[in-house]
């Protein structure tokens, strides 16, 4: 479990996480309104070195940011159920890092293995982050990010 105090901390964590990512990765962000899902994705965008401002994609559903490894930023807030083809993505998911906000229960089918990031807002306004590896080699790759005990 990782504790983050400010939105800048959330962005910095996203940038650190980005360093462990590679093409084809799927990350699912879950957490309530205002948890910091977009802030975390902004950090991932910085870490990947992609172009264009990363802002909330709720209205446009998905946005593709070009870069050495492109970032596909999807927001499933307004979607009930979707297949990747429905998104009319102008990029290949295999060659990109795909981040899906509000993807709980929906985005899992997009890839065989994925990283789930659970963000919760505590009463003192700090954020609690839990990383859940779903198949693949996520657990090994995440080791550098976890607090040393």
């Amino acid at each position: 479990m990782i504790l983050l105090t400010t939105p800048d901390d959330t962005r910095a964590f996203g940038a650190r996480l980005a360093k462990l990512l590679r093409p084809g990765d799927l990350i699912i962000l879950n957490g309530p309104l205002g948890a910091g899902k977009t802030a975390l994705t902004q950090g991932i965008g910085v870490g990947l070195g992609v172009t264009g401002d990363v802002t909330s994609p709720t209205f446009v559903i998905s946005r593709v940011h070009r870069g050495p490894v492109p970032l596909v930023h999807v927001d499933a807030y307004r979607l009930k159920d979707f297949e990747v083809d429905d998104l009319d993505l102008d990029a290949s998911v295999d060659e990109s890092v795909t981040v899906v906000e509000w993807g709980h229960g929906m985005a899992e089918r997009l890839a065989d293995s994925y990283l789930e990031v659970l963000i919760s807002r505590r009463d003192d306004d700090t954020r609690e982050i839990e990383l859940v590896a779903h198949r693949g080699d996520w657990a090994d790759r995440l080791a550098p990010l976890l607090p040393q005990t």
Binding site: A39, D53, S56, L79, D88, R121
Partner: protein, 347 residues
């Protein structure tokens, strides 16, 4: 004919299929078909569903607009269509349809920028722009401040949201308060019955933020503050004063939007502020902008609510402007551009 071009405009960038017809600055028809009902069946917006709905609605909506305007395709001077930004598949339907129409009727075609069209639509209501203006564009997908010197030449972006769009904040706060989508109208109604008793944060307004983000917006922190406030009430078991929360939230959004818009006008030495996009239909935003602008001798131009939300008339209005200005039509192979830059008025 060139002064008063007859132009048909097609808009399919999101969930509305809009077809408008204008003659110069005169609105002749504004036909609209929405796929919102269709999405309700699916329980949310699905891009593929939007594209299919546009495909089914496009021809009937074009025919309805022609009937309403009492004109024939052969009478048109040009066809205009939203080339971007928007949902890629949805845009494609309008662009392909407009190209087919242009090819079949041998009329020139203009692929135009959706956001610039939100500015141009006000010419249908308040006549041509007489000098430079600052435009505040606020909708579910956009929150931008632009400098508009000549609509046929281009606009200069001054600032934009760094996280959520203003309309998106309305939608999300409405959901928090148990109100339906889209959130703008129910929050506006509830706010009229309430008082702005809670002081919610105004994003990017501290002295430090103003140095680097003077004309940018942030509504993510406001949304979170409202969520926290409501949750704290619920934890205590006390009732949530929905109308007061709606009024307080709306006040915070309108405060920042109008403050920065007027600051932009003064910074640029511009006397006209034009407001467009769905959030421009908000009654508090309209009133507050008028009130604050008047103090600085700035004129506010904001079209009637129906022309603020997405429609075909705005695309026709911008097309007509480009024809009258002698702009060259787009080449037939122009693409739909989901991320079209604001610096492009047409393609």
């Amino acid at each position: 004919m060139r002064d008063e071009p007859l132009v048909l405009g097609i808009e399919t960038s999101c969930d509305e299929t809009g077809v408008g017809i204008v003659r110069g600055h005169t609105l002749l028809a504004d036909a609209l078909a929405s796929s919102v009902d269709e999405h309700a069946r699916f329980g949310g917006v699905v891009p593929e569903v939007a594209s299919r709905a546009h495909l089914e609605a496009l021809v009937p909506t074009i025919n309805r607009a022609l009937d309403d305007a009492g004109v024939k395709l052969a009478d048109l001077d040009a066809i205009a269509v939203t080339a971007g930004p928007g949902l890629a598949g949805a845009l494609l339907v309008g662009v392909a349809g407009a190209k087919g129409l242009a090819l079949a009727t041998e009329k020139p075609i203009f692929g135009v920028n959706h956001l610039a069209a939100h500015v141009a639509v006000d010419t249908l209501e308040h006549g041509p722009f007489t000098g430079p203006a600052i435009a505040l564009l606020v909708s579910g997908g956009h929150s931008s401040l632009l400098r508009v010197d000549d609509l046929s030449a281009g606009v200069t972006p001054m600032g934009a949201t760094i996280d959520d769009a203003a309309g998106e904040a309305f939608d999300k706060v409405a959901r928090l308060l148990g109100m339906p989508f889209p959130g703008g109208p129910p929050i506006d109604r509830a706010a009229r019955e309430g008082e702005a008793t809670v002081s919610f944060p105004r994003g990017l307004t501290t002295a430090r933020d103003l140095q680097s983000h003077r004309f940018d917006f942030s509504f993510s922190g406001l949304k979170t503050a409202v969520a926290r406030w409501v949750e704290a009430r619920e934890r205590d078991g006390s009732p949530v004063p929905v109308n007061d929360v709606a009024a307080s939230f709306q006040e915070a959004v309108c405060d920042v939007l109008t403050m920065k818009a007027i600051d932009a006008c003064r910074h640029a030495g511009v006397q006209t502020l034009v407001i467009g996009g769905g959030v421009a239909a908000n009654s508090r935003l309209r009133a507050m902008a008028q009130e604050r602008a008047a103090k600085h001798g700035i004129t506010v131009r904001v079209p009637r609510p129906k022309l603020c939300t997405d429609n075909g008339a705005m695309v026709a209005a911008l097309g007509s402007h480009l024809v009258a200005a002698g702009r060259r039509p787009s080449k037939l192979d122009f693409p739909a551009d989901s991320a079209m830059s604001l610096s492009l008025i047409g393609v």
